[in-house]
């Protein structure tokens, strides 16, 4: 748009700073293609970068001069649109100081990262922005995903904005609001009679034989990189400092591990001063807590479970990044906790009443885990804590409906006074 925002490419490098895909299990490297599992050991592939190119380009000034969306961090991402002002603008969501929430919990420096402010009202807009940008670069014309709901909406919307066809696969018992808010964009919705894990398995089988970009299957290495921007943004919004602690919901474990990776990137590039990586607290619903279960049992593997929780967006019984989430919790002095269904609903109410933010059930899980940590004295009251609220309560109204009871009255002053005593 302006000269100041034109991409400056150091000599000898061009385009993005990504260098290849590397297996997190055995270290084998492959080119930047639509591959997601290591051909040798089936381990997950992760994007690796040209560290020199990143260090040369990623500066606070260049980021500040970038667009008001996640592409301002394009030098730390595996791809970027030619015009980073184009597309459905995602990211730069508010980071809100939450003194009333802190007061209720006996904490003095609590902040809320409000991801409901994204175009389709969840953090999934970030991962989809990156996944579909890379998908188009790789020549894909069809977008697809296995979804617990929020991802379906994000894929449908970003595909619509980009002129791609979309197929989204969801469990048939998903909240109606999430199905409508994906279908409205023109995506073909496949409601699968099974759990999310069944949907995911089906999508992996379909992805093997179709020239489609399944954002969380064959382009997952790029997709998951989008979550790193949730670390970059929080640091930038805190004046290029890191919080002491983060509370993040855990479904597959990708968001949780990539936020941690993002903080590592900031320390590695010098975008923030040297210091400790934030303590990472993961949050799961007790009704689907394979990672929290492994954590509390001291295991280094994650046994799958059959989900049964109102937190449907976290209902992944077989989490792909579960073992890596355990590693992050261990490395940062954090933990992965689980909370009950009642605590989830109470968490939704607590956040709404103290911050004015209405979260979906996943945010209720995170808020409930923050409350649990505070109650159990596991947080120093002076720590700077960031609570990640990843989705919007309007998509899971059924979960919160029992909390709200209107006074039904005749249209008279007397009836009003009788009902509320005011």
């Amino acid at each position: 748009m302006t000269a100041a925002t034109t991409t400056q490419t150091p000599a000898g490098t061009s385009g993005c700073t990504a260098a290849g895909l590397r297996c997190k299990e055995c270290g084998d490297t492959v080119p930047l293609t639509a591959a997601y599992a290591c051909e040798l050991c089936f381990g997950p592939l992760e994007v690796v970068y040209d560290d020199q190119a990143v260090a040369a380009r990623a500066t606070r000034e260049r980021i500040a001069a970038g667009p008001p969306n996640l592409w301002r961090y394009r030098d730390l991402l595996p791809c970027a649109p030619e015009d980073p002002w184009s597309g459905l603008p995602t990211g730069l969501t508010p980071l809100i100081r939450a003194p009333r929430l802190g007061e209720r919990l006996g904490l003095r420096d609590v902040w809320v990262k409000n991801e409901t402010a994204n175009p389709t009202h969840s953090f999934k807009d970030r991962v989809v922005s990156v996944a579909l940008q890379k998908a188009r670069e790789l020549g894909f014309e069809v977008a697809a995903c296995a979804s617990t709901g929020n991802l379906a909406g994000a894929v449908a919307a970003h595909a619509a904005a980009a002129g791609m066809k979309a197929f989204v696969f969801v469990p048939a018992d998903l909240e109606p609001g999430k199905i409508v808010s994906a279908g409205i964009y023109g995506a073909t919705i496949i409601a699968v009679d099974g759990t999310y894990d069944d949907v995911n398995r089906l999508c992996m089988e379909l992805a093997a034989d179709r020239p489609w970009a399944f954002v969380n299957v064959n382009v997952r290495p790029y997709y998951s990189e989008g979550s790193k921007t949730l670390a970059y943004e929080v640091a930038e919004q805190l004046g290029w400092t890191l919080p002491d602690r983060c509370v993040v919901p855990v479904a597959s474990g990708s968001l949780y591990t990539k936020i941690h990776r993002g903080f590592g990137d900031l320390l590695g590039t010098g975008l923030v001063d040297a210091g400790p990586v934030p303590v990472m607290n993961g949050a799961q619903a007790a009704g689907c807590s394979p990672v929290a279960g492994a954590w509390s049992a001291g295991r280094d593997f994650v046994a799958p479970v059959r989900p049964d929780t109102i937190a449907k967006s976290l209902a992944i019984g077989n989490p792909a990044d579960g073992v890596f989430a355990l590693d992050v919790a261990r490395a940062t002095g954090g933990a992965i906790d689980a909370v009950s269904e009642q605590e989830i609903v109470d968490g939704i109410a607590l956040l709404a009443e103290t911050t004015g933010i209405f979260t979906e059930t996943a945010g209720g899980v995170s808020t409930a885990v923050l409350a649990k940590l505070a109650r159990e004295g596991r947080i120093d009251p002076d720590e700077r804590v960031v609570l990640y609220i990843t989705g919007d309560g309007l998509k899971t109204l059924d979960a919160a409906a029992p909390l709200v009871r209107p006074h039904v009255i005749e249209p008279t002053v007397d009836a009003f006074v009788a009902a509320v005593g005011a």
């Binding site: 997601y36 592939l45 296995a146 999508c203 997952r220 998951s224 792909a320």
Partner: protein, 105 residues
């Protein structure tokens, strides 16, 4: 799309073969086939048959006698970790699906 190769009945009564769906990373070992046929048995025995027919198969999905940690195996759509793991029985006519455990979320 699939190249199902019927196996000879192992006993006198004819039986339906087990169909094993092959993930993309392993298709070079099966000559590009997306599915192959085996006889019934446990998952371990099915993998032994695959190794005999397609040398190198076993090493790719197993290590130290167990399934590698990023390999998921499903028998008739059910994750074997909800059953007997690698000793889960695969009956005549059932389908075995091998997939990377690194998608979703």
């Amino acid at each position: 799309m699939s190249t199902l190769t019927p196996t000879a009945p192992r006993q006198e009564t004819p039986s339906m073969p087990v169909t094993v769906r092959i993930p993309s990373p392993l298709r070079p070992l099966t000559g590009g086939a997306s599915s192959v046929a085996c006889g019934a048995g446990t998952v371990r025995e099915v993998i032994d048959q695959l190794e005999a027919a397609h040398p190198g198969f076993q090493e790719r999905i197993m290590k130290d006698g167990a399934l590698r940690r990023f390999v998921n195996v499903f028998v008739a759509g059910q994750d074997v970790r909800f059953a007997e793991g690698i000793d889960t029985v695969v009956a005549d006519g059932q389908e075995v699906t091998i997939l990377p455990a690194v998608a979703g979320g």
